[in-house]
Amino acid sequence: MKKIFQTYGSLVALVILLVLNFMFMRGTFFGPENIRNIVTQNSPTGIVAVGMTLVIIGGGIDLSVGSMMVLVATLGLLALNKTGNLQTGTLGATIVTICHSRFGWSFEQIGTFIAAIVTVAGGAALGLVNGMVITSGRIAPFIVTLAGLISYRSVALALAEGGEIRSSSATVFSKIAMGGVPIPGTSNGAGGQILIYWPIVIMIVMVIWGSFILNQTKFGRRLIAVGANEQAALYSGIAVHKVKWATYSFLGLCTGIAALCQASKFNSVSTSGLGLYMELDAIAAVVIGGTSMRGGRGQVWSTLIGVLILGIITNMLVLYGVSVYWQGCVKGAIILIAVLIQRGKTE
């Protein structure tokens, strides 16, 4: 019984929340669009939380994801906006022109493609930097990524010269977040069907990928070993440093993908607002999902449940009309209760 709680505790917490909503809110909460919205809004957090789960299982933590997000999104949008404006004669311009004329891609498409690459690869690269500073400087991850939290956003500010960067792409770039798969039998207000937006699809793919890495690959075993007992992992012939690099880099990749979704959704980047508190949300989701902060233990799918729990709480607070001032209080309490439930501390 206790074992079940420990394994499926987060699921139990989720079910309790859903039942509460069913009892008091019914259609309002359970409308397909509301559900879709909750999932969509939380998919960037979800994507980041997948990577965060692996980092935490590996005994680390990353506070820099929110700032990293704004930095790589800024880089991506700068690249996008640059694509149309390249100086003729430069290599970049030539490549773009070739793509344009040979493959019939519009400049907007090429720009979007380049922005996507820059954002995602930038994330992976910054993640790798985090990992390398942690291993070669032998500094606590908390501090290294705290420095990242402070620095990365500052670089974004400098690049954007404060404020905001707007995408020069009118329609293509925002398709990344606003396109998707229609759900049959539904209809949105504007006459079409409700879409499952791409970020949801991407999140699901990332959860499956993350779970696969964790449970089905050598790397996953080694990651758990590093997180549970670094010395034992070393004695078992595991290249602990490389495992860490790969993990932080994977989280960076996730962050890059999430940044792309966000930038596309807003079709702009707000250097002061994007990704703010993302690290706290992602970590909270991981822990509510039952992954231990001590490392060596956890699951990716249950992090997804943690993300949903957090999302549903926010949604509920609005639906139930909780005073905005007290919302934080209620949210804090629910997080604690969710963690308690998933610990099976029902004695």
Partner: protein, 488 residues
């Protein structure tokens, strides 16, 4: 096969290993013995790539090698079972076996094939548990079996065992020795480190003795006795290992009746008199540790349990209360639970008795008194625990509990991982304490030491006391019979 030349290792100011030369043939089993801190583990860690030599080198399979990490040594067939357990608690036994050498098909773990191999191998080392059990749910001994199996998993050419039997009981030890002989017959070389000299004499074709990092002996076991080896290790003659047993007084200091704690203690009844040393024997997993922890309230016990100290009923609700009532328990897990290794010797000695005051004495004077009384070898009491050898660390844990002025002292595996010289000192110490009127319960998996030291031995099995032996009944055979549940 293996040729070591001038191998030297320094840790800061300590010279852990000094200009060691050694050659080893295929299929040879070499025993390495020495006092705590003699440099045995250091030597093995150099060979297996954990540490890198300060000077000197060694060649393996006719070529000089410099391993930068354990992975490189493993790839060339050198496997090591470490003195400390190195398993991942959150992974299953089989996952631990294959850790670092997982089998995959198309990038995916090949669980079926790994499971099958793991099952076979664990059976071979005598494991009774499922390979799917998480290591955190295994007892220390069971974990050690996993460690051993891991070294056998791949075709190693050299297997290093660093005190593999310290936590094993007789049955498991015998099985391990057989396994090692099997390896030898398959032309695998084995380096075997142990403080149990009998085993070394039985098993090894050559014995190397280290003292203070220097090789002081290298010979075949023929014509040598345990006493010789001990003398060589320690550098002086060890006369009687066991001191004479002190006289028991009439006063019953401690009594427990009907101790119940989960499935690990069932209707346990014990009593100890003033000056008496009671032995607690049993196979691994018999529940001796759990019973003791339940007595001192480190673990919940059934309310029906009744305890008396000096004929007064007591019912400690937590460890702090138990300590005030004169109970004390020295854990078997010295590193994990017994000592705060990053703190100083002095702090550790006072850790359990900080509320005591010593009128007219400074803290340091009290510390020095304990260090002298127990013969702890340490230059300066403000050095951290990590700078002490295993035997000396154990003495510090005993000092820590004596400082609480207990009336009953429970010692769980007090000589685990301790060299013969230090063992003799600990035996003497326990006898002295009993002579001063302390009641002692000693838990040990080494039956000879219980026989040599205790007035009485109670034998546990599956959480129950199977019987008590005194006087002439005290023999290895009788203990084993009770422990194994043979009633005839």
């Amino acid at each position: 096969m293996l040729k070591i030349q001038g191998l030297t290792k320094r840790f800061g100011a300590t010279l852990a290993l000094s200009a060691l030369d050694l050659e080893m043939e295929e299929g040879e089993v070499v025993g390495v013995i020495g006092e705590n801190g003699a440099g045995k583990s250091t030597m093995m860690k150099l060979l297996s790539g954990v540490h890198q030599p300060t000077e000197g080198s060694f060649s393996w399979m006719e070529k000089t090698v410099h391993y930068k990490n354990p992975a490189e040594a493993m790839n060339e067939g050198i496997m090591m079972v470490h003195q400390e357990l190195n398993l991942i608690p959150t992974l299953s036994a089989e996952d631990n076996l294959f850790l670092g050498r997982e089998q995959t098909t198309f990038g995916r773990l090949d669980r079926k094939s790994m499971s099958a191999k793991a099952e076979a191998l664990l059976q071979k080392v005598g494991a009774q548990f499922s390979p799917k059990t998480l290591c955190e749910d295994l007892s220390i001994a069971e974990q050690q079996l996993v460690e051993i199996a891991r070294a056998l998993l791949f075709d190693a050419k050299l297997v290093i065992f660093d005190e593999p039997t310290a936590v094993l009981s007789q049955v498991e030890t015998d099985r391990l020795l057989d396994l090692i002989r099997e390896l030898r017959d398959q032309n695998v070389s084995v380096l075997y480190v142990s403080h149990r000299l009998t085993e070394v004499l039985q098993l090894c074709s050559r014995i190397v003795v280290l003292r203070d990092g220097v090789k002081v002996g290298d010979f075949t076991p023929e014509g040598h006795t345990e006493a010789d080896l001990a003398a060589l290790m320690v550098g002086r003659d060890l006369k009687d290992i066991f001191p004479p047993k002190p006289t028991v007084q009439d006063q019953v200091v401690f009594q427990v009746s009907g101790l119940e704690s989960g499935k690990w203690a069932k209707d346990v009844n014990l009593s100890v008199r003033k000056g008496e040393i009671l032995g607690l024997a049993g196979l691994i997993g018999a529940g001796r540790t759990e019973s003791s922890e339940a007595i001192v309230a480190l673990r919940p016990r059934d309310p029906s349990t009744r305890l008396w100290m000096n004929d007064t009923p007591v019912d400690p609700k937590n460890y702090q209360q138990a300590i005030k009532q004169g109970l004390s328990y020295i854990t078997e897990d010295r590193k994990g639970k017994g000592l705060v290794t990053s703190m100083s010797v002095e702090d550790n000695i006072h850790l359990a008795s900080m509320d005591r005051t010593y009128p007219g004495k400074t803290k340091r004077e009290v510390t020095t008194d304990w260090i002298n009384k127990l013969g702890v070898k340490v230059a300066d009491p403000s050095l951290p625990m990590t700078s002490l050898s295993g035997g000396n660390q154990q003495k510090v844990s005993i000092a820590k509990w004596l400082a609480t002025e207990p009336q009953l002292l429970i010692l769980d595996e007090p000589t685990r991982g301790v060299d013969v010289g230090a063992k003799a000192e600990i035996y003497r110490l326990i006898a002295d304490l009993a002579a001063e009127g302390l009641a002692c319960i000693v838990i040990s998996s080494e039956i000879p030491e219980l026989l040599g030291m205790c007035h009485r031995v109670a034998v546990m099995r599956e959480g129950r006391i199977m019987g008590e032996l005194t006087g002439d009944e005290l023999s290895e055979v009788n203990v084993m019979k009770l422990a194994a549940g043979v009633t005839a």
